[in-house]
């Protein structure tokens, strides 16, 4: 009886944690509307190293890393690498206004109903998920502070060689 109660309570505590994506687990697929108006699916990038960046225009560190992410994308996009910026705002207007001032070349997808943020269990802003060529999550990075781009780069370089 005691064991059962202990097991149940452990399950109750663990359940919300299980929802999030873990490293070395397959990246959940999703389809979102892109800035261009076309729907973009994650599986269409299979065979490439994909970096998902969950961002918002109200998030300072996200704004700070966007130009850096763009330079990473420009450098590696020809070599089988894709960057996807997932905007988490319910209203994309602020994001679009900000993107006009700070344009980026990588595709921006709009997760207006937080479906994908929930799917990936985004637990910090910005959140960065790097998916390898086989579609497996290999790196989850929460937040951004100057210098973190080196971590992204070393992970991308390792995964590109695989």
């Amino acid at each position: 009886m005691k064991l059962r109660i202990a097991g149940l309570s452990a399950l109750c505590i663990a359940l919300p944690l299980l929802a999030a994506v873990d490293t070395n687990s397959p990246a959940p697929d999703f389809t979102l509307q892109a800035q261009s108006g076309k729907p973009v699916e994650l599986t269409q990038f299979k065979g490439q190293v994909v970096m998902l960046n969950f961002w918002a225009s109200w998030c300072g560190p996200c704004r700070q890393e966007m130009p850096l992410l763009d330079s990473i994308y420009k450098k590696y996009s020809k070599l089988g690498f894709t960057m996807i910026g997932v905007n988490v705002e319910p209203d994309s207007k602020a994001a679009n206004d900000w993107l006009k001032q700070t344009p980026v070349t990588f595709p921006i997808l709009y997760d207006t109903d937080s479906k994908v943020s929930k799917l990936y269990g985004v637990s910090g802003m910005p959140s960065t998920v790097i998916v390898d060529r086989k579609g497996t999550v290999r790196m989850i990075h929460r937040g951004y502070k100057p210098g973190d781009e080196e971590e992204y780069l070393s992970s991308i370089r390792t995964l590109m060689r695989e």
Binding site: C12, P90, M125
Partner: protein, 75 residues
């Protein structure tokens, strides 16, 4: 004895309800309004940190609000 068991079972159920995910819970990607500068308690974090430091030094019943302690509070 049976009544006690039922009571214990209820107590356990109540306790377990506390483990359930709290709703609504503001997720990091939903903090649009919380991230607005107007939501911050002070608009001048550095100068208020100094003021907190002075208060923390002079007033026994003040402090532990995040500013650095110690010293005479004169600078």
């Amino acid at each position: 004895m049976h009544q006690v068991r039922v009571l214990v079972a209820f107590a356990v159920l109540y306790a377990l309800a506390g483990c359930a995910p709290i709703q609504p819970w503001v997720k990091p990607y939903e903090r649009e309004h919380l991230a607005d500068p107007i939501m911050s308690l002070n608009r001048n974090p550095i100068s208020s940190d100094y003021i907190e430091h002075v208060f923390g030094t002079r007033e026994g019943a003040h402090g532990a609000t995040g500013s650095a302690g110690g010293g005479c509070g004169c600078n």
